[in-house]
Symmetry: C2
Subunit: 732 residues, 2 copies
């Protein structure tokens, strides 16, 4: 049972930011950081909203955090009992990630006796607009207690403040806030209603930034005093009158009651786990970490939407501007694809719907077709700054090239679409715009090709690959291989369409000269240079000239840091002129295209690049894990798998890039852990529409069981050593 | 008369480095910094040798400085009278740059009376291996004087020490040093011989780093005591036994005597001035500055050699590793071409003889043909480091791209050759290798061309133009225009060759497929994209995307410096993401190709780019001056001309790039001043083998006279206002 609970039983103010990520709860519509009820902006408390952005002045655009209606604290004898200010006698915080319940218990020693506060909350999986909380106060002495609870509008923003107007009101029993964003005028409505199991005198205390109830009562030193709170959030992205809907929701929910809402919530989670729980015999730590990773992926799945994607830091805050990166397609998508394809479809629909943004970006940089946003926000707007990093020595912004030169992003989107089509067989996505995306991405890469005057070979110059420490390189293998893949898929799509005469063909022919495109894509696929493995060593050069860089170790390079926060990449970073790379690059490519390379090549490159990899990104470890599985060494993969699976469970990840805060959860690592467990260790793969299993469990793992969705069916897979059993579960 | 003398009559220790450049003397074989006789390495004393290099350990290779045989100081009562330690009562230093004589006079107040030292020296223009000095001591009281004079082997090196062995010896009357360089084992022999006009007791004092004479004598308080010194320097580049030759030379010279050697020296200078002096009526300051610039160009002309070029800082020290840059062909060459074409030939022969180095460099970077060294040393070895600048904040070397991406250098070499052929008509240079250089440079640019997959246009990507503050740009106009010029000249050369059947054609046909090359060069010339002037504004974009950079002023950018020594360019320099440029770039191109553009375009671009130019290079001002002359505004040109002409006369130039010392003389600015005076103000040009004059003097200038070499004849040109008179002087 404790396998499904994470908890900490000491209190340390230094851990507050980390715990905010570890004890995160969410339901895809919103995320609540694992902060305590009395926390405010200084402790990074946040109720983060999915897919709704705002820009303050000329600062970076980022997602909105809602006013925080969980805000609550206790006062006795004019003294506030609040962490982290007032040291506790006893403190415990936990998340039951099977039921997605956050709880805390804190005991303070007052001058007269003990004060105990417990609280439980959940972001309802049954109703994405609902957060419920139960808050219990008890004292072992008789005293006068003042409870302060309401809505805190003093919001933690990285690049805020975002609300130009915050209207606080009392509507019947409810407190409400209607906040209007400055740039977009989007409105966020929050309503909260409180039910007490005791009699208290209540008054409303409204300041500039908070609307709070003061509930005064006398304790008898024996019983506990409980109130439940029903919080609802709606925005103008959901409906025309979000305040009305939020109020209606919290009123209705209060009528339904805490226990019943909780039961509905747990029921939904239970159904999710039925399909997605992974059982591992012989390795409790791995099972726990993997299911905790899956928990996070569930918390951020946009089940409420038809077309929405997931930010790189999930819903844990505004880090990376709440933008959608290649993380989603390359690291998270497989999980949804193989467990809940409707979510995968929603993620890809987001890319289809943001095609106009990708077209505009291509045009901006002189390309044709679709160049997807490196950091995608609403409408495909690229939130990526040209200055992503701050120089720690001069405090100046440093010019970076992620936005304009990390061109592999369009291929990553196509890769996601193609995986979806293969695994689900659902070609309706093509009709709904995916075909256009594939063709436009191919058009983009065609326009990015260059050739030398006397060479017949196409090349791609001046890019950044997954290893962001080396900027502006030529013929990055990952990029070229992915572009080649796009040309192949686009050509294949046209050939398929031309074999019949479906409405899609007719529609696309109005828009494109398919014959000419087919000829160009075929030519591009065949003539695009992809650096190959050295015949003797089997090693592939990551980009033109990589082998000429200083051949040194990660530790040597780390030893050159003058400030531990300084950026390793850019023009003059400690890694830039060395072979030390940020994350899997060649190895990511080899994993994706493992069928085109022999095991020896996979292994040679793994052996060469791994010691040169900083793993400075949570996207790195799982690709090394996957790749090691590809060449049949699951025990070599295992520590990388665990690194990925425990990225958020253990916390303590990289918090800074230069002076920019990059903390938060790591859903790509969660997705990567799942990927390794299922596609790596269990060896699930798709071969021309047939699911294959090739198990190679780590030696500790005696038995493994999980369910998997494939071609419209769900299968239960049981693996014991080399043996496996697949049984169809039911129709999805 | 004082127009030909520079002098300073105060002493300031802070000026020592600057004066070392201003009071420089030299004869092309060697340069003697304008330091005082008692100076050592701390005062940057140096006898710099032309064209002989050495590398110490893994440091930068640089030219050798010879052991300093001028080293002399006076001792009275155990007290050393030396600047800068012992403050003088009176001090004067001067160079008569008509006669190329350096002299100094210093009076010290001793405890008993006045001590006066005067000294004169010259680097013989009649014998490049010879330096002569006359040193005079007088006191107005009777005292015992010890003169210390000999050879100081404690050499100022920027990246030394270079000599692994320094053998000091006494040979007859002479002191000698034979120093052997560590890397190359090249030997430098120095011999010195002293003749006194008084009787003194002499002993030899030999330490680890110096071999000195101690000459003791009693003064009578009335007369002065003079000795003359005859110094000779030979190296293993000159002969097989340099010590023998140096000894013979100083012995012979001592026999000849100081006055006679001086007369021979002055005679040579007088002949040089006869041909090169520029007379300007109405502007003494300009005349003085211009002739002083010409003086410097004479001091560094390698008249003793058949194949040698001139470093960017002349022979004033080891700055920039004593390497040859594009400065020579683009800024200095015209002076020699139009006054002493044999020197021009020697400079270009150096490029011909370093073709193997250029071929090797092209290969190193994956090109074909000849990619000349950005910083050329012996054999065309590229001394340019990949790390030219040191970060002032971290003290780390900064990766720079001068070596690999400043590809215009090969075109600059071709430009020089083509100018030589035009002005002299001497096609024998083609037979001696210049034809091969032109073809191989065209082959280089051909291999550097890229085209987009669906475009018929060739482009040149990822280069640095003359404006080094913007790295790794595409389609730098200067670079593309120059490459186009090379294609044109190479194609023209092949067409010419193919019209006859000379031995050169036969020779080249053995080496190259001229037909195929012709076709490629013609195609390249016609299809190479050169960004054109905007139709409305007339402005040409310096490179792709330049206009998208922040449009701000030089002053605004300067105001962002956190440390005045920090580098403006590179990835994160204050200028890098702005339109502020280091030096003339478009304007240099427009000057070279002025016939292809109308005056309006020249002026629009001047007006646009000048306020955005830092002029952070001594190559900048003269190009603005020249260009303003091209569109008929000599008075606009004038201050830029004066800036160029006074670069060394006034001193005080940029001394640092990051933490690297870059002081020294500025012969390119000297050449640029001459260029502006003769080709700009006097308007001398070559039109299809005919010399044209189109005078447009600055309003101050009433009259101008100079000689000019053209097509094997020397002409005297006299200009008064708009009128001019050309008369043939004599056969060269």
């Amino acid at each position: 049972m404790s396998n499904w609970i994470i908890d900490s039983s000491d209190f340390s103010a230094e851990k507050v930011a980390d715990l905010g990520n570890q004890y995160f709860i969410g339901n895809g519509y919103l995320g609540v950081r694992g902060t305590l009820e009395e926390y405010g902006k200084d402790q990074l408390a946040a109720v983060n909203l999915a897919g709704i952005y705002d820009r303050h002045g000329s600062e970076w655009r980022e997602p909105l955090n809602a006013p925080n209606a969980l805000f609550t604290w206790v006062e006795i004898d004019h003294k506030a009992y609040q962490l982290p200010i007032c040291a506790p006698l006893e403190h415990r915080q936990q998340v039951d990630f099977e039921q997605a319940l956050h709880s805390r218990k804190t005991v303070w020693k007052t001058e007269s006796g003990m004060l105990c506060v417990t609280a439980q909350r959940f972001a309802s999986m049954a109703n994405p607009h609902l957060i419920c909380m139960e808050y219990v106060v008890s004292t072992d002495f008789c005293t006068h207690v003042t409870l302060h609870t309401g809505i805190d509008c003093d919001i933690w923003d990285i690049h805020g403040p975002h609300y130009e107007k915050t209207e606080m009101d009392v509507k019947g029993e409810a407190l409400t806030v209607l906040a209007t964003a400055g740039e977009t005028k989007a409105q966020v409505a929050v309503s909260e209603l409180v039910l007490c199991d005791f009699h208290g005198n209540q008054r409303i205390d409204c300041s500039d930034t908070k609307i709070l109830r003061e509930i005064q009562f006398e304790t008898d030193g024996k019983r506990s005093y409980t109130f439940c709170k029903f919080i609802s959030i709606y925005t103008t992205h959901d409906c025309s009158d979000p305040l009305h809907d939020a109020l209606a929701c919290s009123n209705q929910s209060a009528k339904t009651g805490y226990e019943q809402e909780k039961a509905a919530h747990i029921g939904k989670w239970s159904a999710l786990w039925d399909n997605t729980r992974v059982e591992i015999e012989g390795d409790n730590a791995a099972m726990r970490a993997l299911n905790y990773s899956i928990y996070h992926l569930h918390c951020i799945a946009p089940r409420h939407a038809e077309s929405m994607s997931i930010p790189a830091r999930g819903l844990s805050g505004q880090t990376y501007k709440g933008a959608v990166f290649w993380d989603t397609e390359m690291f998270m998508l497989p999980f949804y694809l193989y467990t809940e394809p409707k979510v995968a479809r929603t993620l890809l629909k987001y890319r289809i719907d943001t095609l106009p943004g990708a077209r505009a970006k291509a045009k901006e940089y002189g390309y044709r077709g679709a160049f997807y946003a490196w950091e995608s926000q609403e409408g495909g707007y690229d939130a990526c700054s040209d200055y992503n990093v701050t120089d720690v020595f001069t405090q100046r912004p440093m010019k970076t090239y992620f936005r304009d030169k990390q061109v592999h992003i369009s291929a990553d989107v196509v890769y996601g679409i193609v995986q979806y089509l293969k695994v689900t067989g659902d070609t309706s996505l093509l009709d709904e715009g995916a075909a256009e995306v594939i063709l436009e991405c191919a058009n983009f890469y065609r326009s990015a090709l260059v050739k030398r005057a006397d060479s017949g070979q196409f090349e791609i110059h001046d890019v950044i690959g997954p290893d962001e420490y080396h900027e502006r390189v030529n013929n990055n293998v990952y990029t070229n291989q992915m572009a080649k893949f796009v040309f192949h898929e686009a050509a294949e799509l046209i050939r398929k369409l031309q074999r019949g005469c479906c409405p899609l063909r007719a529609k696309l022919e109005k828009q494109f000269d398919l014959n000419s495109m087919l000829q160009k894509f075929e030519e591009s696929e065949h003539r695009l240079f992809v650096p190959q493995a050295d015949k003797e060593t089997g090693i592939i050069e990551q980009f033109d000239g990589y082998f000429k860089l200083e051949n040194t170790s990660v530790e040597a390079v780390r030893g050159r840091l003058l400030d531990k926060r300084e950026y390793w990449g850019g023009a003059y970073g400690v890694a830039s002129q060395t072979q030390v790379i940020k994350q899997a690059d060649i190895v990511t490519m080899l994993n994706l295209f493992s069928k085109e390379y022999d095991s020896k090549t996979l292994k040679s490159n793994w052996d060469y690049y791994e010691p040169r990899t900083e793993h400075g990104s949570s996207l790195s470890a799982c690709m090394y894990a996957m790749s090691a599985c590809r060449f049949g060494e699951p025990d070599l993969a295992y520590p990388f798998f665990m690194q990925s699976a425990t990225a958020d469970l253990n916390g303590g990840g990289k918090q800074w890039a230069g002076l920019v805060y990059i903390g938060g959860t790591h859903p790509a690592a969660c997705g990567g852990a799942w990927l390794t467990a299922i596609q790596g260790f269990a060896g699930v793969s798709d071969e021309n529409g047939v699911m294959k299993i090739h198990p190679q469990l780590p030696s500790k793992w005696k038995h493994m069981q999980f369910n998997i969705y494939f071609q419209d069916c769900i299968y239960s897979v049981e693996i014991t050593g080399q043996d496996y059993k697949i049984s169809k579960k039911d129709k999805k």
